[in-house]
């Protein structure tokens, strides 16, 4: 993979554990973001583009931006209700 080869040390030398951890963390973050974007594309298309017209209407555009914001908020709400201490 590009991002890996560009930042990996020359052949023979082993990357330091710190460099390796940083690389892993960056790749995990990238994978997470990709998946989230893919899900939001699906969800917001379903909610906002109900009848695709010849161009994206301003109503559809603003629905999409609200949808993205709310989806992130929903992720936060659910994460908090699952992992906060005050669970019944």
């Amino acid at each position: 993979m590009d991002s890996y080869s560009s930042s990996s040390p020359p052949m023979g030398a082993s990357p330091s554990p710190e460099a390796l951890m940083e690389q892993i963390q960056a790749q995990l973050a990238e994978a997470y973001a990709k998946e989230l974007i893919e899900t939001m594309r699906e969800k917001c298309f379903d909610k906002c583009i109900t009848k695709p017209g010849s161009s994206l209407s301003s109503g559809e555009s603003s629905c999409i931006s609200r949808c993205v914001d709310r989806y992130l908020e929903a992720t936060g709400i659910i994460s908090r209700s699952l992992f906060s201490q005050q669970r019944r």
Binding site: S14, P15, P17, L20, M21, I24, Q25, L28, Y32, E35, L36, T39, K43, C44, K47, C48, C63, R66, C67, D69, R70, Y71, E73, A74, T75, I77, I78, S79, R80, S81, L82, F83, R87, R88
Partner: protein
């Protein structure tokens, strides 16, 4: 891979921590996807209090269900 690196305790701890975090993220993503469909009609500029409590209840009931299904399987 350098065998010293594979045995590095700092790295081993980091990996198990990241694995746990990735699993938690996955559960949250799955539940958000299902509960979004059930609780949100048209995304507004702000969640109503009923949408917020629907999302939160939905998440907790999803976990209850998971427990129930696991128990059901253990009985057989």
């Amino acid at each position: 891979m350098d065998p010293n690196l594979a045995n590095n305790p700092q790295l081993i701890q980091f990996l198990s921590q990241e694995k746990e975090r990735a699993m938690a993220n996955e559960v949250v993503a799955k539940i958000t996807s299902s509960c979004w469909d059930k609780c949100v009609d048209k995304p507004g500029s702000k969640f109503s209090s009923s949408e917020t409590s629907c999302l939160s209840n939905c998440a907790l009931r999803y976990m209850d269900m998971t427990m129930l299904i696991m128990k059901r399987f253990q009985q057989q």
